[in-house]
């Protein structure tokens, strides 16, 4: 295109077991799952009763009572992450052209908790179908339409450039960063607040995944419930969280001597056109997305030093994904270390893609590969190096992340150490 390149200059994360970037990093490198019996409601009537919950208290992040009343948890978590990422980037409000700063926030299910809680009130616990508006909060439009997440970030950071929520289900968090990358390439912005947030741990979400047996029924030992690539895996563990990256045009970052975590060198998406939830075992379309990302980055498969897997821990996903890596990476698939941090922080739907990209940025900066927790009995169908249990040291120049989601959407993104 125009030759404009985008780099990551700030990282903010709120994840289960880690309410900041550094706590998150320590948690995933330590490989200790932040998964417990659901505490935010009584999970007894449900098939899956465990989740990766964040100990996120909005009042501790300086949000006003009005903000807490008006905004869903997914928005508050995104705002807290954006604050951390912005501070990390070294950008200061007075030194920015606010017209050239935009927002791209991923979210799969938006304000689910707020919508469900308020419905329970307005319908009087489901007694009335024709709900009465006078029993509903006045700010519910912002919950109905999750664009509010992007608006609030734009207002908070004074971003007057393009703003939108990207909502492609469980690939939202990769696609939102990809959208930011595209806008910077095309000259529509110089700085993008890019990330994703989801807070889906509510009765309706748990029930809907119960209904299709996508989540694990292993309730007795929560810390061992998320087992990507393990022969005993029984489904994913629902999670929540957020990550925001500051994505900046390279020259803009260099001109202010910014610390650069990495460059976005490849970003691709494909759809399988097959099924809303089912995956064919050949991994063809995810493989296509990975190959396209490699082409954009002008890399050979052997150049990839780490893969952050989708690794949800469902039977079908982990096989599908293993096939995709073999297809796209060829012989290199057997050499490259791969792990799924969902084993530690669960699957936070749209948010997890951005959280995993944050992990890739930190892997490149710090030279440590987080492990796949609970991978003690490898599934013979998942016969790649999935970094069982213990973190490793390795210098990584190029990290690949893959995502797969409902709707058949498959996404891949490559972060690279900045080349001189």
């Amino acid at each position: 295109m125009t030759g404009r390149r985008s780099v990551v200059t700030g990282v903010g994360v709120i994840a289960p077991g880690g309410g900041s970037r550094e706590e998150f990093w320590a948690r995933i490198v330590g490989g200790k799952p932040a998964i417990r019996r659901i505490s935010v409601f009584d999970p007894a009537p449900f098939r899956s009763q465990v989740a990766a919950e964040c100990d996120f208290d909005p009042t501790c992040h300086g949000f006003t009572p009005r903000e807490v009343r008006r905004l869903d948890r997914f928005v508050l978590m995104a705002m807290a992450c954006a604050d951390e990422a912005f501070a990390d980037s070294g950008l200061t409000p007075e030194a920015i052209d606010h017209d050239r700063m935009g927002v791209s926030l991923g979210s799969a299910v938006g304000a689910t908790i707020r919508l469900e809680d308020e419905y329970v009130v307005a319908s009087d616990h489901g007694r009335h179908w024709e709900v009465e508006a006078r029993h509903a909060l006045p700010f519910l439009y912002g919950a109905l339409v999750p664009a509010s997440g992007a608006s609030e970030l734009a207002v908070r950071l004074g971003a007057r450039g393009p703003a939108a929520v990207v909502s492609t289900g469980c690939t939202s968090g990769i696609d939102s960063i990809g959208h930011a990358h595209t806008l910077i390439q095309d000259g529509e912005a110089d700085i993008m607040i890019a990330g994703a947030s989801d807070a889906p741990i509510s009765p309706i979400t748990v029930a809907c995944f119960d209904a299709i047996r996508a989540t694990t029924p292993s309730n007795d030992d929560p810390e061992r419930a998320s087992r990507p690539f393990d022969a005993d895996r029984k489904g994913f563990v629902l999670g929540e969280g957020a990550a925001v990256l500051i994505v900046e045009e390279l020259e803009h970052a260099l001109a202010r001597d910014a610390r650069v975590y990495c460059e976005i060198t490849g970003s691709a998406a494909r759809a399988n056109g097959f099924h809303m939830t089912g995956l064919r075992p050949d991994g063809f379309e995810l493989g296509e997305a990975i190959s396209e990302a490699l082409d954009q980055a002008r890399l050979d498969p052997a150049d990839i030093g780490y893969v952050s897997a989708h690794g949800s821990g469902t039977k079908q996903n982990d096989r599908h994904e293993t096939a995709a890596y073999k297809r796209a990476l060829g012989a290199a698939a057997r050499q490259v270390p791969i792990s799924s941090i969902k084993s530690v922080i669960g699957h936070s739907l749209g948010a997890i893609g951005s959280i995993e990209m944050a992990a890739c940025a930190l892997v490149i900066e710090r030279g440590v590969l987080p492990p796949t927790a609970n991978l003690t009995t490898p599934d013979p169908h998942c016969d790649l190096d999935y970094i069982p249990v213990v973190a490793r040291e390795a210098t990584v120049t190029h990290a690949l992340s893959a995502g797969s989601g409902f709707g058949g959407f498959q996404s891949a993104m490559i972060f690279s150490r900045l080349r001189g």
Binding site: W129, G142, P162, P203, G273
Partner: protein, 412 residues
């Protein structure tokens, strides 16, 4: 060389009609699809009227197996997509699937589906929740179903920016075409008239309380009462121009420059100034290689709220100065369709360019709009050559977006 994107197919499911032709002729005649809500729906709501599509029969477009898996907004999206692809004369099964994509705008998702399943959960317990809740309600439901039905396997997307999202989706379609995608199906539909979705909208200050369909939604009128909600939208086939020509497709218009901005002031109330909205329009025009003097007509946002209308008139003055560019708000015939509204305006603008007629703004007096805002508001269908048309949109929370459509010449 930069690929150019053209609109080669239009599918409409809107209060003005199902199918581009029905919609277009109803619009020219000024036939409004805003009507009274059923008593049951309106009970307990401040709003009495809405843009509705009573003539839409989902079983004509959606297989029974799929009907139970999807919400009304997806039925409308699937129908509009079928109509758009048929209009374009495109059989996607004969194309290379990775060169085809779908990018939708979404806003309220499958809200009726979601309401029904939450109702079931609280009345009857977790086991009564449908296996399709996980795919029927979420914002990517329509994009996913369209991708599967038509084998659109390239980079797909879903953008949420309230009523501005449809312009963003078209802009994203153009970016995909510029990167080598052959065809992008883009647009959006909305079905926000279910009881809970209406309750969620009831808190909006700008919702019209006027029970008369003829006066409830009158943008730029001095006594504008607010806006009327509505359902429906449109899907467009956007295609790389050379391949459109090679297969002899009819081209409605070319998608030229676009821009999006955000007010970034206070998400709970309208901004105090119009600069960011004006900047979106100005940048879209500049990115099209044009000047404001080249613009033949504007499809305005038309909030229908006195304060927001004043802001839009000021933004238009900031961009066009004293020149009185023709402005139309044909959505006065449909109400505001959340994320379906901008795609419908884009369909209207593309049809206007290809027919050389501007559809009217209904129920507003042109003289009043001229006196109050200095606007040349088009209140009767108006003939005239349209080479360059600006479509502008705003979304609740501070979103602004604009895009230029141009008459397409084969010989460039």
């Amino acid at each position: 060389m930069r690929q150019r994107a053209v609109i080669s197919g239009i599918g409409v499911v809107a209060p003005t009609g199902v199918g581009a032709a029905d919609h277009w002729f109803a619009g020219l005649a000024g036939r409004s699809g805003i009507r009274e809500l059923p008593d049951r729906t309106a009970a307990g709501l401040p709003v009495r009227v809405a843009g509705q599509v009573p003539g839409f029969d989902e079983t004509e477009f959606v297989a029974n197996r799929l009907l139970v898996q999807t919400d009304r907004w997806t039925w409308m999206a699937l129908a509009a997509t079928d109509l758009a692809l048929a209009d374009a004369g495109l059989d996607t099964r004969k194309e290379f699937p990775f060169h085809l994509s779908v990018v939708t705008a979404a806003a309220s998702g499958g809200n009726a589906f979601g309401q029904r399943e939450i109702q079931a959960l609280y009345n009857e317990g977790p086991r009564s929740v449908s296996a399709y809740q996980s795919i029927g309600w979420f914002y990517a439901a329509s994009s996913g179903q369209i991708s599967i039905k038509h084998q659109l396997k390239g980079a797909c997307g879903v953008l949420v920016a309230d009523a501005a999202g449809g312009v963003d989706a078209l802009a994203q379609a153009r970016r995909l075409i510029a990167r080598g995608t052959g065809v992008v199906v883009t647009g959006g539909t909305e079905a926000p008239l279910s009881p809970y979705a209406m309750a969620c909208q009831a808190g909006q200050q700008t919702l019209s309380r006027d029970p008369d369909p003829a006066t409830a939604y009158r943008p730029f009128a001095p006594d504008a009462a607010g806006h009327v909600p509505g359902e429906g939208g449109a899907m467009l086939v956007v295609e790389e121009w050379r391949r459109a020509h090679l297969r002899g497709a009819t081209v409605y218009a070319e998608v030229s420059g676009s821009a999006a901005t955000h007010d970034a002031t206070d998400a709970t109330r309208p901004p105090a100034q119009s600069h960011q909205y004006a900047r979106a329009m100005r940048e879209a025009i500049a990115r099209s290689g044009c000047t404001p003097d080249d613009v033949d007509a504007v499809f305005a946002d038309g909030a229908g709220d006195v304060f927001a209308d004043d802001l839009e008139a000021r933004a238009l003055r900031e961009v066009f100065g004293d020149r009185r560019v023709p402005v139309t708000v044909p959505k006065t015939m449909t109400g505001r369709l959340c994320s379906g509204g901008a795609p419908l305006d884009l369909a209207w603008a593309a049809l206007a360019i290809s027919h050389g007629v501007l559809p009217p703004t209904v129920n507003v007096d042109a003289g009043e709009a001229a006196r109050r805002h200095g606007l040349d508001l088009v209140t009767e269908a108006r003939d005239g050559s349209l080479g360059t048309v600006l479509v502008a949109a705003r979304g609740a929370g501070g979103f602004n977006a604009a895009v230029v459509l141009k008459a397409h010449a084969y010989d460039e």
